[in-house]
Symmetry: C2
Subunit: 117 residues, 2 copies
Amino acid sequence: MVVLEFSDQDVNRLFRALADATRRDVVRRTLVADVSVSQLADSYDMSFAAVQKHVAVLEEAGLVTKEPRGRERMVRGNPDRIREAQRLLDRFEEIWRSRIDRLDVLLAEDDPAPPDT
Amino acid sequence: MVVLEFSDQDVNRLFRALADATRRDVVRRTLVADVSVSQLADSYDMSFAAVQKHVAVLEEAGLVTKEPRGRERMVRGNPDRIREAQRLLDRFEEIWRSRIDRLDVLLAEDDPAPPDT
DNA sequence: ATATCATACAATCAAATGGTTGTATTAGAG
DNA sequence: CTCTAATACAACCATTTGATTGTATGATAT
């Protein structure tokens, strides 16, 4: 199994890409089916170039891929990257849970003398 | 059960807040234990005011809360917000899975005649 | 062959972001 | 009471972001 490591920059790009409603919509739509850039552009109230840039941001974040199809570029959502984002959030949850565990250990102490920090 | 709805803006703020390594570190540290703003500021190679701003961004995103403790402000990570971020990502996964399901239905068709869209 | 559609990309611009320093306020320590 | 530590907040600045328009290129259709 390949454990792909994420640099801080990668994680920044990933969450940054998700921090825009248009981009989230693009991801949703392209998870359902491949959609060309121009089809996407028709859906939003902004220029073609603007949509193109949003797709580029998603592509750099790994959230979509582009595949040439004739004169079009079909955009495809990448569910793996979503899962990787989830995994990153899981780690925060783990940290939280480990805090709880440590508190439980304290509460379970027979001798309630506080440990010196 | 209170179903709190998220506006696009809320979601933007949430992911934007996570798109910075310093802020992610603050969240991790404050999930483990309450930490004052000045304690945080000591850890990073930037001014107190800069750290203060990062904490403010996290607070607006709901990822941390601040509680006055004497002359300090203790920062506390909010695990609920992390879970809400996870829930948002879950929805993307669901969309992906529903696509698979639809493909399965197509493959399971006895009569392979394509449905008219 | 030509016109057109889909895309790429550069230049430009306003607004947001991430940092700084400086000043003010407030709470605790001496 | 006075000094200091912790915070808040404003002003400022450089860089990035999100959008625009304009120009160029490649693939399709006529």
